[in-house]
Amino acid sequence: MSQPNLNDQDGQGHHVAHEHHIVSPKIYLVILLALLVGTALTVWASYIDLGILNPILALAIACTKATLVVLFFMHVKYATKLTKLTVGAGVFTFLILVGMTLADYFSRAWGRW
C-alpha cells in the first residue's frame, strides 16, 4: 500500500489508504471503440485465408481485447502489485493446465505409445 496521499480533490472524500484511481469515461469510450474495432477485425480476418496464421491472429486479437478489458475496465493498470500478481498467477496456472495437457497430446504422436 502506498503512503497516504493528502492531496484531496474531492473535498469530502472518505478515507482510503491507497490511491484510488477513477478512470475517466473518455478512456472507457476509447476502449469500447477499440474493442468494437477488434471484433470487426477478427470477423474480417476470418474470411481471409492466412493458413496457419488464421487461428493465431484470431487468438492474438482476442488476447489484445481481453488485455484491454483487464487493464482498463477492470482497473488493473491502476491496481496494486498484488492484484497484478494475482492476475498473473491465474494466467500462469491456466497456461500450465492447457500447455502441459496439450504437450501430452502432441507428444503422443512422436512415439509409438
Binding site: 498467477a89 493446465l97 502441459m100 495437457t101 501430452d104 507428444s107 512415439g111
Partner: protein
C-alpha cells in the same frame, strides 16, 4: 514436575473467563448465523468428526470383508459402493477440510492478530456448502450409494454404472466450492488482515502452510468442478467429450481430474505440516530450525504440486515424453518434504524437550510421514510405478501420508489447541495412551499393505487369491486397534469439556499470539489489536514477558 512444561493456574481459584466467544450469545441460532470464525471452526469440528466416523465405519466394513479371500460379508457391488463412499467421505468431507476448516479457521486470524477472517459471511457460507455436500453424500448412501470409486473414472462413471453418480458429483461439486471459499478467505486474510508488525517472516509456519494450501484450493478445485460438470452432462444428455465411441478421449478426464486431485493431496497434507511446525517448536522450547526454509518449502510444494499430476497416469497411455517430464518434476516435489522432515528433526537439537500428547502425535507423524513420503518416490519413479501402481502399495502409501501424516497432525493439533479452544485441559495420561495405541494400530493396519502391494494384490478387490489372506488378517486386526485409538479421544475430549482442568491462557508456554490471550478467547480475539514486535517462536521474548508480568504484579 520437571518433565513437563504444562503450567496451569491454581485450580482452586481458576475460572473459565465469563466473557468468551462461546458464552457471548446463546441459542442454536446464534451458532447457525454466526460470523465468528471460532464458532464456525467449532461447527466444522463437529461436522467433520461426524463424517470421519461415517468414513471410519465404512473402512471397518472394508477391512471386515477383506478378512477372508471370498466376498462373503457382502456382494462385490456392495463392497464397491462401500469403498467408493469411504473414499468420497474421507477425502472431500474429512481430509480436505480437516485441519484448515477447524484449526486453520480458528487460529489463523488469532495467529496474525486479526479480529476475524476477512469474509465472515463467506466463511459461514462455506460451512453451509460443506453441510450441503455432506447431506447429499448421505442422501446418496441412503438411496443406494455409488460405485465409481472416488476417482469417477470415465467411461465407467458416464456410461457403465447405474448408481447415483449425479448426486455424488453434485455433492463433490458443492463441497469443492466450500473448500474454494475457505482457501480464498485464508489468502485474503493473510494478505490483508495482519496486525501491525506482523511481517510475512514473523508469521507462524502454520499460517505459511495454510497460505500454500489455500493457493492450491483456489486454483485447483475449479478444474475438478468442470470435470464433474462434464461427467454429469455426459451422463444426462450424452455429450461426447470423454466418450471414446463418439471420438472423445477418456484420458482427458484423467488429466482434468488429477490436475485437481494431485494438488489436493497437498491441500490435505500441508496444513498438517503447519501443525507439526507449531507443536515441535513448542515442546522443544525452540525456534523451528531453518524457519525460512520450512516456510518456502511449503510454497515450493504448492507451486510444484501443480506440475506433477500426470504421474497418476504413467501406465494409462500418456506419451513417454510426458512421462519423463512429470516423473522428473515428481522427484523435485519430493525434496521440499525431505527438507521439512530434517528441519523438524533438527529443531529438537539442543532443545528442552517434553513429551505431552501433541508431541507424541508429532513423533508419530514424523515417522509415518517419512515412510509415506519415501514410498511416494517408488511410485514417482516410472519403472517401479509400473509394478506398484494400482495395487495395495498405493493404498498403503496414501494412507501413510493421509492417515499416518494428516490424521496424526490433526490429532496433535486438536490436543495442542484444545485448552485454547475450550479453556480446559484434556486428560494427559489416557491421551498419551491413545496416541500410542493409534501409532501401533496404524502400523499394523497399513504396513502389511506395502507387502501385499509388492506381492501384486490389486486395490479395490472384494475378493482376492487366498495366499494374501494372512497379511490381510494382520491389517484387519490393526484396524480394530486403530478404531479404538480414534474412539478414545472423542470420549475423553468430550469428558474434558466439563471435567478437564482449567487451562489458563498459555498452558504450554507457547509463543504464538493466540496463546497471549484468554482461553477460550473473546469474540474479537484480543482486547486490543496486538502489535507484533518480535520474531515467530521467540522464547526469549516470552520469558521477558513473563518476568515483566511478575514484576508488575510484585
Amino acid at each position: 514436575m520437571s518433565d513437563t512444561i504444562v503450567s496451569l493456574p491454581d485450580q482452586s481459584t481458576a475460572r473459565i473467563p465469563k466473557v468468551n466467544f462461546m458464552s457471548k450469545e446463546n441459542g442454536l441460532l446464534s451458532w447457525l448465523l454466526t460470523g465468528d470464525h471460532k464458532r464456525i471452526a467449532i461447527l466444522y469440528l463437529i461436522s467433520i468428526t461426524f463424517f470421519f466416523f461415517i468414513g471410519g465405519a465404512l473402512a471397518g466394513l472394508i477391512r471386515l470383508e477383506l478378512l477372508t479371500p471370498q466376498s462373503d460379508l457382502m456382494a462385490t457391488d456392495t463392497y464397491n459402493k462401500v469403498f467408493t463412499m469411504h473414499g468420497i467421505v474421507m477425502i472431500f468431507l474429512f481430509l480436505v477440510p480437516s485441519v484448515p476448516a477447524t484449526l486453520g479457521n480458528f487460529f489463523i486470524p488469532m495467529m496474525i492478530g486479526a479480529k476475524d477472517l476477512a469474509l465472515p459471511k463467506i466463511n459461514l457460507l462455506s460451512w453451509y456448502l460443506y453441510v450441503g455436500g455432506g447431506i447429499l453424500v448421505l442422501y446418496t448412501m441412503m438411496t443406494g450409494g455409488v460405485d465409481t470409486g472416488w476417482t469417477f473414472t470415465t467411461p465407467l462413471s458416464t456410461h457403465y454404472v447405474n448408481t447415483n453418480v449425479l448426486s455424488t458429483g453434485l455433492a463433490v461439486f458443492i463441497a469443492g466450492f466450500s473448500s474454494i471459499f475457505t482457501g480464498l478467505n485464508f489468502i485474503v486474510t493473510i494478505h490483508k488482515m495482519r496486525a501491525p508488525g506482523m511481517t510475512w517472516f514473523r508469521m507462524p509456519l502454520f499460517v505459511w502452510a495454510h497460505y500454500a494450501a489455500s493457493i492450491l484450493m483456489v486454483l485447483g478445485t475449479p478444474v475438478l468442478a468442470i470435470a464433474i460438470v462434464l461427467v454429469a452432462l455426459e451422463r444426462t444428455i450424452g455429450i461426447g467429450v470423454f466418450d471414446p465411441t463418439k471420438g472423445g478421449d477418456p484420458l482427458l478426464f484423467q488429466h482434468l481430474f488429477w490436475f485437481y486431485s494431485h494438488p489436493a493431496v497437498y491441500i490435505m497434507i500441508l496444513p498438517g505440516m503447519g501443525v507439526i511446525s507449531e507443536t515441535i517448536s513448542t515442546f522443544s522450547r525452540k525456534r523451528v530450525f531453518g524457519y525460512t526454509a520450512v516456510a518456502f518449502s511449503s510454497v515450493a510444494i504448492a507451486v510444484f504440486g501443480f506440475f506433477v499430476w500426470a504421474h497418476h497416469m504413467f501406465i494409462m497411455g500418456i506419451s513417454n515424453y510426458s512421462m519423463l517430464v512429470f516423473s522428473l518434476l515428481t522427484m523435485l516435489v519430493a525434496v521440499p518434504s525431505a527438507i521439512k522432515i530434517f528441519n523438524w528433526a533438527f529443531t529438537l537439537y539442543k532443545g528442552s524437550i517434553t513429551f505431552e500428547t501433541p508431541m507424541l502425535y508429532t513423533f508419530g507423524f514424523m515417522g509415518l510421514f517419512t515412510i509415506g513420503g519415501l514410498t511416494g518416490v517408488f511410485l514417482g519413479s516410472s519403472g517401479t510405478d509400473i509394478h506398484l501402481t494400482e495395487t495395495y502399495f498405493i493404498v498403503a502409501h496414501f494412507h501413510f501420508v493421509m492417515v499416518g501424516g494428516m490424521l496424526m497432525a490433526f490429532l496433535a493439533g486438536i490436543h495442542f489447541w484444545w485448552p485454547k479452544m475450550t479453556g480446559r485441559m484434556y486428560p494427559e495420561k489416557i491421551s498419551q495412551l491413545a496416541a500410542v495405541v493409534t501409532f501401533i494400530g496404524f502400523n499394523l493396519t497399513f504396513f502389511p499393505q506395502f507387502i501385499l502391494g509388492t506381492l501384486g494384490m490389486p486395490r479395490r478387490y472384494a475378493s482376492y487369491p487366498p495366499e494374501f489372506q494372512i497379511l490381510n488378517v494382520f491389517s484387519t486386526a490393526g484396524a480394530t486397534i486403530l478404531g479404538v485409538g480414534y474412539l478414545l479421544p472423542v470420549l475423553y475430549l468430550v469428558w474434558s469439556l466439563k471435567y478437564g482442568e482449567i487451562a489458563g491462557n498459555n498452558p504450554w508456554q507457547a509463543t504464538g499470539l493466540e496463546w497471549q490471550t484468554q482461553s477460550p478467547p473473546l469474540t474479537e480475539n484480543f482486547a486490543e489489536i496486538p502489535i507484533m514486535d518480535h520474531e515467530a517462536y521467540d522464547y526469549e521474548w516470552l520469558e521477558a514477558q513473563k518476568e515483566k508480568e511478575v514484576a508488575s504484579v510484585g
